[in-house]
Amino acid sequence: MSPEVVSAGEWTRPIPRPDAVSGPYWEAAARGELLVQECPECGHRQFYPRTVCTDCGADPEWLTCSGKGTLHTFTVIRQNHAKPFKDELPYVVAIVELEEGPRMMGNLTGCDPDDVRIGMPVEVYFVPADEGVAVPLWRPIQA
């Protein structure tokens, strides 16, 4: 099953501001696709998007990912004074390692914070945040 875009009502969190570099990434997310970058010269893959390959200095290209990965590390935020997060406590902030290699930060949802374990398989879904911008979030892949 390919990743989906889930409408979760009004987005109340900080909103990514696309620019010339990151525009394709956020636009793809709004379509339900997760992109990282791959270097045509050396094959290095990276996230977040940049105008340079951090390995060899060449111009990177986009790579569409499966949207699946494993939980590399995480924390459960139990105190945050900033709105809207203070109203969502507790919640899981995770570092996900994609099948394609790069890692990214996101929230793991659909799972009791006390049941979260490093190594658990997760899949991406997207929530619209702004015109042409959606944010990737993660949920456990049911066995």
Binding site: I15, P16, Y48, I77, R78, K83, I118, V135
Partner: protein, 391 residues
């Protein structure tokens, strides 16, 4: 030929942990005046200024502003800002400048009224709030509501996963530092605590509890570097800079290449080689203890114990008063003073110990001290090895 070996000749602290009548510039200034008096240096002889600023987004205390306020007639200035480790990088840069003859006497200052101005929001106030728009690399973190504590918690979680490190072991670090805070009349928290107290304190961001986290305070510090030659006529026994090195693995926490390894693994061996000593030779360590996990990672990365064995090393009591490697003899950031960027206090406390001025917390026969600062989110690490004897 004049001996241009770099030394630290003067140290000063401003008022801490709570000083509501001082703004950040006044913390810099008070610490400077005390370092000047401590050293016996004449103000007109200072020909280098180094500072990281960082106390205000309005940049009131950045290096050029402070050089103007203090009227330092400098021919060398450095405003390197790597977060809390800035001051260890400053020693590295200042030592090179003094050896090269770019200047003779360098003033380094820091000051922040973090607590009085902002309250205790630094760790859990969130980096961003509401629906503000965020560009650049932070766009890939800001929507997820991580906190400063949460960033370090991710490293602790991974370390526990890979090596079986326990919350009790991390708690022992905080308990040991608190023991030293009990000997510092100015420390913010002085009552003894146990590892169990740490583990049973409120969870802030799993697996870090409230007592795994440093305090938020006001405070400032200053030190003066010069040549061994000039230091002969000054007021205090000089402390020699034997090695200084830095390294950066990432800035934002989502970019950390290995959540169990910091830049100290690279900077440490360089500093030890420069100094011609090994971890076993060090008499006291002054670490940036933003969180208990910070100190644990630095212990391993600097080679005081093998990677993954920090928890057992801590349990064995090495870091305690009376141990063979006392940690943070001033009470550290965990219990005494943390105005936002603590790195300067590591240098100042190491100097105090090497002079034999540590009072009740004095480490016996202290000849070699290591200060290691962590800036950002375990991002930029600076290591300085200092000695009481001429190399």
């Amino acid at each position: 030929m004049a001996d241009r070996t770099p030394v630290i000749a003067g140290i000063g602290l401003s008022d801490y942990p709570v000083a509501p009548d001082l703004d950040s510039m006044q913390h810099h200034t008070l610490a400077f005046q005390r370092a000047l008096a401590d050293s016996g240096v004449a103000k007109r002889d200072i020909d280098g200024y180094v500072g990281a600023g960082g106390s205000h987004q309005q940049m009131v205390d950045d290096a050029v502003s402070m050089a103007e306020y203090l009227r330092i007639d400098h021919k060398y200035i450095d405003s390197t800002m790597t977060g809390g480790s800035s001051f260890e990088f400053h020693v590295q840069h200042g030592a090179a400048a003094i050896r090269e003859g770019l200047c003779d006497t360098i003033l380094v200052t820091y000051g922040s009224n973090q607590l009085s101005r902002m309250g205790r929001m630094l760790g859990t106030g969130g980096f961003t709030r509401g629906t503000q728009k965020v560009g650049g690399p932070m766009a890939y973190e800001a929507p997820f509501g991580n906190s400063l504590v949460g960033a370090y918690a991710m490293a602790a979680q991974r370390h526990m996963h890979e090596y079986g490190t326990t919350s009790e072991q991390l708690g022992e670090i905080a308990a040991g530092v608190r023991e030293f805070a009990g000997l510092n009349p100015n420390a913010m928290y002085r009552d003894p605590i146990t590892a169990d107290d740490v583990v049973s304190s409120r969870m802030i961001a799993d697996p870090l509890h409230k007592l795994d986290c440093c305090v938020i305070s006001d405070g400032g510090g200053a030190f003066i570097m010069t040549t061994a030659e000039r230091a002969r006529d000054l007021a205090q026994p000089p402390v020699y800079v034997l090695g200084a090195a830095g390294a950066q693995t990432h800035w934002n926490i989502s970019q950390m290449p290995d959540y169990t390894v910091t830049g100290a693994a690279k900077a440490g061996p360089i500093a030890f080689e420069q100094a011609g000593v090994t971890p076993a030779d060090i008499d006291t360590i002054q670490f940036y203890d933003s969180f208990t996990i910070t100190a644990l990672l630095l212990l391993e990365d600097l080679g005081f114990c093998p990677k993954g064995e920090g928890g057992k090393f801590v349990e064995a009591g090495h870091l305690r008063k009376g141990g063979d490697l006392p940690l943070n003899t001033d009470g550290g950031g965990l219990s005494s003073c943390h105005p936002g960027m603590r790195g300067i206090f590591l240098i100042i406390e190491a100097v105090r110990q090497l002079r034999g001025q540590g009072g009740d917390a004095q480490v016996p026969d202290c000849r070699l001290a290591l200060a290691c600062g962590s800036g950002g989110w375990l991002s930029a690490i600076g290591t300085v090895i200092m000695g009481s004897e001429q190399p």
